[in-house]
């Protein structure tokens, strides 16, 4: 699968371990930035920087509730990754299905050889 080598895609956004941790936290529900600062033990500017990258690719949405800004995971933006992985797994399943038929032949050949002996 071809993919542009820019930072503005889901694959690059999640290549950073801290950003994956942020997604892990948000997978549990909507959170204000302070929660993430506390849970990840990072300084707020760092968390904000990562959130900005995640927002750029749409992996994280934000909304204002009163004076609070709440962040949440947007799984649809990560769908390209999901699709890619599913594709990879299907590929391996296809390979093994074909390997099955090769093995079936080898088994029959071996049984045939034993009978010949």
């Amino acid at each position: 699968m071809a993919r542009a080598a820019t930072t503005a895609d889901a694959f690059n956004a999640v290549a950073e371990p801290r950003r994956r941790q942020i997604l892990d936290v948000l997978a549990g529900g909507e959170r204000p930035v302070n929660d993430m600062v506390r849970l990840l033990g990072l300084a707020q500017p760092q968390v904000s920087k990562h959130l900005r990258v995640l927002r750029e690719v749409g992996a994280v949405d934000v909304r204002d509730v009163g004076r609070r800004r709440l962040y949440r995971l947007n799984g649809h933006a990560l769908k390209p990754i999901h699709d890619w992985v599913s594709n990879y797994e299907r590929f391996w399943s296809e390979r093994f299905d074909r390997l099955d038929s090769v093995l079936e032949e080898l088994k029959q050949k071996e049984e045939g050889d034993e009978q010949d002996e």
Partner: protein
Amino acid sequence: MNRTSSGTAMVTLPTDEQILITRELDAPKHLVYEAYTTPELVKRWWSGHRGEVTIAEIDLRVGGAWRYVMVAEGGFEVAFHGEYHEIVPNERIVMTEVYEAPETQALPEADAPLNIVSFTEVDGRTTLTLLVQTTGKELRDTIINSGMEAGMQEGMDLLEQVAVSLR
């Protein structure tokens, strides 16, 4: 550990830098090993349903090289190569695997993912496990450079989150 499966191949993530692919096969391990290490046989399964393997070169000795080329639907070539690091007949193969990305510079061999293939037989059936061990550097590069092998672990890490949020 994240876990997902499609068909009967199972992909799990023991660590951030590893992928484990597992599949049980209805044949004794010496035959699975044969199918895995014989060029004419590799040609018959390695492309899955996505094309045709045109080249399968296997120099099955420690330090020997392997190279597979597949012509995918649409005519473009996909090639991988590597070197054997360890060979225990019918038991275990350790080799590097490098994706030959045509549009990008090849990875240094030192950063190549290591494939550790094991064959375990119980009652005439063989469990094939393929552990892909990557380096952090390699992982980042392949994610940026794309290709068949790229982005795998990262994607797997996120699978559950995606599944949860799509629910």
